[in-house]
Subunit: 238 residues, 2 copies
């Protein structure tokens, strides 16, 4: 059930059988969430963390005037709020972007695990840093990439992240977000995202229909987005 998570960890560190079993033992139950459901609210006291098993989650923050930003998206194998373990409460909401399944890890079990395996504490710290690197790249996108490159860059990133958990085909992946949700990820309006997608389609870079994204020309898409996967740190580090 949490193979995706172990796969993600093993990309960066060697894991022993005992460690894998201990990590698996973190989770007490699973629950389902429907698209648009809010799983965790900003400021809420937390006693457990959520691992995404199936579906898509996002971190969201609201402003006045109904404006919302989605600040990061999670794919299966990601902890959505491991930072809640140290922060005790979050500065953002965690929302389901599509129908999803999450596994619940109580904080006291996480604490016990990290005390027993200090090496894993180091590894999860590393994963936090990789999360932050992704966040930085999103920040750069918003600061400096125009709409077209910004959307393209998100597709490139998701393609690579999904590939590492073997949820991407060579030429694309299932992408269940609506254009409206996508607009919240890239800091644009839904109308402009629609026009940007048409632009990407007319340049024969992608297809996007019935919630499946097909990448027609990966090299040109990567180039347009100035995508360099270095910031994902897809290599052994521990």
């Amino acid at each position: 059930m949490i193979e995706d998570h172990l796969r993600k960890l093993k990309l960066r560190a060697e894991l022993s059988e005992a460690e894998c079993r201990a990590i698996t033992g973190l989770f007490v139950e699973t629950r389902r969430a429907r698209a648009h459901e809010t799983l965790i609210r900003e400021g809420q006291e937390l006693s457990h963390s959520l691992l995404l098993v199936e579906g898509w989650l996002g971190r969201a923050k609201d402003l006045r005037r109904g404006q919302r930003g989605i600040l990061e998206v999670h794919v299966p194998g990601d902890f959505a709020d491991l930072h809640g373990f140290t922060l005790k409460q979050l500065d953002h909401d965690v929302i389901a972007l599509a129908d999803s399944k999450v596994a619940i890890a109580p904080h006291d079990r996480i604490r016990a695990l990290l005390e027993r395996f200090p090496r894993l504490a180091r590894l999860y710290w590393l994963m936090t840093n990789i999360d932050a690197a992704i966040q930085r790249e999103w920040t750069l996108s918003l600061a400096r990439r125009p709409a077209l490159a910004r959307v393209a860059h998100l597709f490139c990133e998701l393609f690579v992240r999904l590939s590492t958990i073997e949820r991407a085909a060579p030429d694309g992946f299932d992408f269940p977000l609506s254009q409206s949700q996508l607009s919240e990820c890239v800091g644009l309006t839904p109308v402009h995202v629609n026009r940007t997608l048409q632009d990407l389609r007319s340049q024969e870079l992608i297809r996007l229909e019935s919630r499946r994204l097909t990448i027609l020309d990966r090299d040109r898409l990567f180039a347009l987005a100035e995508f360099d996967p270095g910031y994902l740190y897809l290599r052994r580090l521990v």
Copy 2:
């Protein structure tokens, strides 16, 4: 020399005398850097981390066409690249935004410290998470706040962060960045930042002259920026 750093940590955790001494023992030497100097380059192999003692540093990433984004700024007491300890190399540059002084902590000393004081490992993980929360707020700013609120929000954040290390007066602080550097922080052009600052001045919210920022009406500035310091986690957490 590293009192600012200890002050920052003590805001979030109780520290024993032994822990303080051990942290102080992390640093082998200091060095100076001139404004605009690049201290660490993206991709460079790292064997030590830098604590900012005096001055201003920033994390920067470049794109083609000479576009650059500054993704986070550091004030005294901040580790600029503690994530380099786990990541081994960075996905961004670390640059001096003003003349600065940094203290150098070799990674093997950091490793020894965290093995001896596992509680500090937890604390530095927490600090990483607070860093990430700041990054999220910047992302939100870029995604959803218009130029005026974006600049205002940065000033609010810096005012609070500098206050916690007692480097802000009740009504402002020294702010050595040029308008061009500021524009790289907020994802605008220098020309537009200039006009935005004039707007803030004409609304009698701030003064900014000879590298000193004066906040004339804190409440209105906070309201304009929709600034809520919750994301800085200025409270005991460990």
